[in-house]
């Protein structure tokens, strides 16, 4: 079985800037099990138009590089609120499942310099089309067609494969001869055919199936609905005209109704008398006999003749038996353009229309294990696992990346210790591959040396360095020491053994400010700053910075292995089964703080004999 690990999900920042709900006062009692969160206590909620201060930036304030700062911050936090957990992104929080996306699903708004997920964009429908025959449907007929294809695209109601039209009498003559009717719809996959239905559906022509089917299929529910509708239409005062289509009758009715509303309930005016409504004539009664007949039919037909939930939901009136299923016309699809929802959008502007996916803007992360012998589905407790965290830059600018992670993974009683060896580094621009080759070494060497220089400059004091640096790719080492975790996955809802590391990624780069809205290629101007300068526009460059949380699913912690034991006092030690160590990793687990790792002092990865450091490779030129 293919291992799903490792995976990387990115949390959309809209998760944090969303206006929170205010139905707090009386309607939502504060839960007894959870300590009240900010959400519960916030009464003065900001206007949704002005975003809340992004939580993503708050940690930057509390990241004290010195320990004293840290402690101060921590104490303050402790006094005011249980705030640290709020600051850290917790991948185990049930809400986070809704804001985490693979990078492929994300978009990027060039105007706000922000990641946009499917939840925080506004969709605008460009056109409707049938996914089967690929015909575009004009918008005027989409709704009246029931959002379905009106050509000959029908799906099997049982297996949802495409139905084909076949003749009942397979022609024995030459193939050129057009087959003679009647025809049925036939599923090539499960061999379901409309001839099996009760009563069977046979078509006279192999084309315009929708028209023919509409004549042949009518359900009793539709008739009942029509009867009711007609009844109410009559009651509303106009038996001849349908109230839905007659504006005159409509306005009169509205007047009547409004009069009723204003005059109160007790008065018996003329209008009220007219509105006196009767019940429908002979409503359909519940009959025991009918229901018992259904039971008998069920007993006789057996389980296999009934529809399952999926088949039932796909049909408007939820048929109970397979023989009542009808061919399903293919549901249309839409081509949609996305627009950033951030500003109160004016429909006409093309501004804030998202052009490219996030993959083209934000650095993509990748995780590899260094030691290929470790199994990701059973990481060994107390052993230092080293992974290679690679950052690939899609931009044509050099970016500087800083990675921050809580020292202990949050949200669980069994936190793993995580250390990023070189949290700040740069990734070179995504220059054309051929640039290097064609321009020989001229641009490549200085940029690389500069990059290497900066990387070293930031990290030399901390004795950590990047692991590998390529054209637009840099990788650093991340060390993980999982604790020993009792296997309670069969009893607990949460899988404590799943090891997910939240990482706060901050990216900074210089970008050109002045970019025309009508510029067809969004990234084009970015790519050639020199040419833009040559064109005469003032080359304004601004520092762009954005940040987001991402979650790396590293693997699952396995059973403990003999010989590898906790080497540090505050890592959780072996505990009896089923009793979570509540207070053992004292502050580390309950209130994980983001610390800038490695700061030289105590956060360094534990040096266990089993995980002897491999010498780091030098940066490749």
């Amino acid at each position: 079985m293919a291992s799903p690990f490792p995976y990387i999900h990115i949390s959309c920042p809209c998760n944090e800037e969303r206006p929170q709900l205010i139905a707090v006062d009386s309607a939502r009692p504060i839960s007894p099990t959870k300590s009240p969160t900010k959400r519960d206590l916030a009464i003065n909620l900001p206007d949704p138009q002005t975003p809340v201060q992004r939580r993503g930036l708050q940690p930057a304030v509390s990241f004290g590089t010195t320990t004293t700062d840290d402690d101060d911050e921590f104490d303050k936090d402790n006094l005011t609120d249980d705030d640290d957990e709020e600051n850290n992104f917790d991948p185990r929080d049930p809400r986070s499942a809704f804001s985490l996306f693979p990078i492929e699903n994300l978009l990027y708004c060039e105007d706000c310099h922000q990641i946009r997920c499917p939840r925080c964009v506004q969709d605008e429908i460009v056109c409707w089309y049938c996914p089967s025959c690929l015909f575009e449907v004009p918008s005027s007929t989409v709704k009246s067609d029931g959002n379905r294809c009106t050509r000959n695209c029908y799906l099997c109601p049982i297996c949802t494969a495409l139905l084909s039209v076949v003749s009942i009498n397979p022609s024995s003559g030459p193939a050129t001869e057009t087959p003679a009717g009647p025809f049925t719809l036939f599923c090539n996959h499960c061999h379901w055919t409309t001839a099996d239905l009760q009563p069977s559906i046979q078509l006279e022509k192999p084309t315009s199936i929708s028209t023919q089917l509409a004549k042949l299929t009518s359900s009793p529910q539709d008739a009942e609905f029509a009867r009711l509708k007609q009844h109410y239409a009559q009651q509303l005062g106009n038996a001849q005209e349908d109230f839905a289509n007659s504006p005159a009758a409509l306005t009169r009715l509205m007047g009547l109704y409004a009069g009723l509303g204003s005059s109160g309930t007790g008065r018996k005016g003329r209008g009220v008398k007219k509105l006196e409504m009767k019940e429908v004539d002979r409503p359909k009664e519940v009959a025991e006999e009918r229901e018992m007949d259904l039971v008998e039919r069920l007993a006789r037909a057996g389980l296999d003749a009934t529809t399952n939930t999926k088949q039932r939901i796909a049909h408007p009136h939820e048929p109970r038996f397979l023989s009542e299923l009808k061919p399903v016309a293919v549901l249309l699809r839409t081509k949609r353009s996305k627009r950033c929802r951030k500003p109160e959008s004016k429909v006409q502007t093309t501004r804030f229309r998202i052009r490219l996916v996030a993959l083209n803007y934000i650095p993509s992360l990748s995780v590899k294990r260094i030691d290929s012998s470790i199994s990701l589905t059973s990481l060994i407790p107390h052993k230092t696992h080293r992974f290679l965290l690679g950052v690939t830059n899609p931009l044509f600018e050099q970016i500087s990346v800083s990675l921050l992670t809580p020292q202990y993974t949050p949200g669980t009683y069994y936190p793993s210790r995580v250390t990023i060896l070189c949290p700040q580094f740069t990734v070179n621009a995504n220059t054309d591959v051929w640039d290097d080759a064609l321009m020989s070494t001229k641009p490549a060497v200085p940029s690389l040396t500069a990059a290497g220089g900066t990387a070293r400059a930031t990290s030399s004091s901390n004795d950590a360095t990047v692991f590998e640096q390529k054209r637009n790719y840099t990788s650093v080492i991340i060390e993980v020491v999982p604790p020993e975790i009792p296997d309670i996955r069969d009893t607990g809802i949460h899988d404590d053994r799943l090891l997910e590391i939240p990482i706060f990624v901050r990216v900074e780069f210089d970008a050109e400010v002045d970019r025309d809205d009508d510029d067809p290629a969004g990234g084009g101007a970015l790519s050639k700053p020199s040419s833009a300068a040559a064109a005469g526009t003032s080359l304004l460059r601004e520092r762009v910075e954005y940040s987001y949380w991402c979650v790396i699913g590293v693997g699952r912690v396995g059973d403990p292995v003999e010989g590898i034991v906790a080497s540090e006092p505050n890592t959780p030690v072996r505990t009896p089964f089923g009793t979570p160590v509540k207070g053992t990793p004292a502050r580390g687990s309950r209130t994980p703080r983001i610390v800038r790792t490695p700061t030289g002092t105590p956060v360094k990865a534990p040096q266990t004999p089993a995980a002897a450091r491999t010498p780091l490779r030098p940066t490749r030129p």
Binding site: M1, H9, F101
Partner: protein
């Protein structure tokens, strides 16, 4: 044949309609004739299409299902069920990693979410333990799917009509409005209460609406299209308890002794629910009474009564001729007795990956008994025990099952009794109108036999109690005997006259399309969604509309 005629066909290019009666079918006076339904001129008038623009969307928000569609159509365009997958991340199946077999420890497929009911529902009524944010996120996901996949419409343009259960928490309603106005930006939202619309969709103006929902059953009297909210009765017996009873029965059937595991860890909730919705049924009132009598005999150690035999003669020794209906019922009973249901469940955590069960079809009626018709303290047995329902102890029978629960609440009552109580509490005028208009709706009401069972039991109950009296008469039979001794017995001729008078009355009532007062009668409804569709088709502006700008300035409904 008109369809053979090519010229005709080309003229009537009727597009496909899944619900063939929408606004079109009712454009003519007689909607049942296909000719008028298909006539193109009837619905291609410019007026019709102009009005189409401001037709609202209708959403029905339930605990398990979300329905959405357009006004004037007979069925919603989509029905989206909540599954645990929806609580998961995009692009990740299950929860990461694999799960292991309980005994062998081998990998048993991806770690899918095998949870209790909480991840199969949108919200719980007990919001103390539910993070409203999660509800909001999930709701957003569901709405987005409805808009983008099924409705295919831009959300900004359409007014909304949202049908909510009568007892939805205000916090949820606020959340829903907030979510819609911020993310989907409809101009206005109108909230409607589902019992009123169920009543409307039954063609009635007053009714007692029994909504057997997922979390709970709510019994709402509706009088002249107004819900009488202060007379609502609630019971926690609902579809959820139905599925839970069934799952427990199944797990009890094949679990090894002493295994304390929850059934929903072993069996997939969806599979259990699916099986129940496919072949679950409910015994008829008379059958259930007979079964209860047999159980009572069993409790006192009496042998089972033979069927047939004595039934042919009544108490006076007269021979009862079997009517054709009796014969039919007999044959039906035999069919049901013979039928079996063969199923297979995926049980990846057990030693066997799949567990096959062959159950008698009769057993499929048992979960409904437990969920709706047995006292709440009845312990769920397994399909291996005879009769599937525990034999009561003689003490319980003697006590009349009193005093078993210390603090009895309405969830302990059986459903028919609760309906009785609800009617009882109503003002007498409302009761008089509601008794012949009982509308049973909700997810579980689709189980064949359930509606007539509730009504049948209610009839029996009223008969036993001798009418609608708050004080339960203790000694009915004595009274009857005394009356018999004292009163003069009418002659046979008089009796017949009385009967014929009654018949006349009945005919008279039928002529005006009603039922005699006091007759317990159930009325079928098309469901709250169809009611909303009818109502919005009538284009009456809602009395209470929530407007976007106003809501966003106050954040309160």
């Amino acid at each position: 044949m008109s369809s053979r005629d090519p010229s005709r066909l080309s003229a009537t290019t009727t597009p496909y309609k899944p619900s063939s009666t929408s606004f079109r079918s009712s454009t003519s006076g007689n909607p049942t004739t296909p000719q008028s339904r298909l006539s193109a001129s009837a619905f291609s008038s410019p007026g019709g299409s102009l009005h189409q623009v401001d037709e609202p969307l209708i959403f029905e928000v339930g605990t398990r299902f979300f329905r959405a569609g357009f006004a004037n159509e007979s069925a919603p365009r989509c029905k989206i069920g909540i599954t645990p997958d929806m609580y998961g991340r995009v692009g990740m199946k299950g929860r990461g990693g694999t799960r292991a077999n309980r005994l062998t420890g081998e990998a048993a497929g991806p770690r899918i979410r095998n949870t209790g009911s909480e991840e199969w529902e949108l919200w719980t009524n007990d919001l103390r333990l539910k993070d409203l944010g999660v509800v909001e996120d999930l709701m957003e996901r569901v709405l987005r799917e409805a808009y983008n996949k099924h409705l295919l419409i831009e959300s900004k343009s359409k007014r909304l009509i949202i049908i909510l259960p009568p007892l939805v928490p205000v916090a949820l309603q606020n959340m829903l409005s907030q979510l819609l106005f911020v993310h989907f930006q409809p101009p206005t939202i109108t909230y409607l209460s589902s019992p009123v619309l169920s009543c409307l969709a039954a063609g009635l103006r007053s009714a007692l609406v029994v909504d057997i929902g997922w979390q709970e059953t709510t019994i709402t009297p509706v009088y002249e299209l107004r819900p009488l909210t202060s007379f609502i009765k609630i019971s926690s017996r609902g579809s959820k308890s139905l599925v839970e009873c069934f799952g427990q029965l199944l797990w009890n059937t094949f679990k090894s002794k002493g295994d304390k595991e929850n059934w929903w860890r072993i069996l997939n909730w969806a599979e259990v629910e699916d099986l129940l919705s496919r072949c679950g049924w409910c015994r008829s009132s008379s059958d259930a009474r007979e079964a209860a009598r047999q159980r009572a005999r069993n409790a006192f150690g009496l042998p089972r009564e033979k069927e047939g035999g004595e039934d042919e003669y009544n108490e006076d020794g007269e021979y009862i001729r079997k009517t054709s209906a009796d014969i039919r019922a007999q044959r039906r009973r035999e069919t049901i007795e013979e039928a079996v249901v063969q199923t297979q469940f995926k049980t990846p955590l057990l030693k066997e990956r799949t567990t096959s069960l062959t159950l008698p079809f009769e057993a499929m009626a048992v979960p409904a008994e437990y969920a709706f018709f047995l006292p709440s303290w009845t312990k769920v047995q397994s399909f291996k025990t005879p009769e599937y329902i525990p034999v009561p102890s003689p003490e319980d029978l003697m006590d009349g099952c009193q005093g078993r629960v210390e603090y009895e609440d309405e969830s302990d009552f059986t459903l028919p009794y609760l309906v009785f109580l609800a009617l009882m509490r109503c003002p007498v005028d409302v009761r008089a109108v509601c008794i012949p208009r009982i509308v049973i709706t909700g997810g579980a009401s689709n189980i064949p036999g359930l509606k007539s069972r509730i009504l049948g039991d209610l009839k029996d109950l009223v008969e036993d109690r001798g009418g609608w009296d708050i004080v339960k008469p203790r000694n009915l039979t004595e009274d009857a005997r005394r009356r018999e001794l004292v009163e003069k017995r009418p002659k046979k001729v008089e009796l017949e006259m009385l009967e014929s008078e009654k018949d006349d009355l009945r005919i008279q009532w039928e002529k005006i399309g009603g039922v005699p007062p006091g007759t317990i009668r159930g009325v079928e409804t098309m469901g709250a969604w169809a009611g909303g569709s009818i109502l919005s088709g009538a284009r009456i502006k809602g009395a209470v509309e929530v407007e976007r700008e106003r809501f966003l300035s106050t954040h309160r409904i």
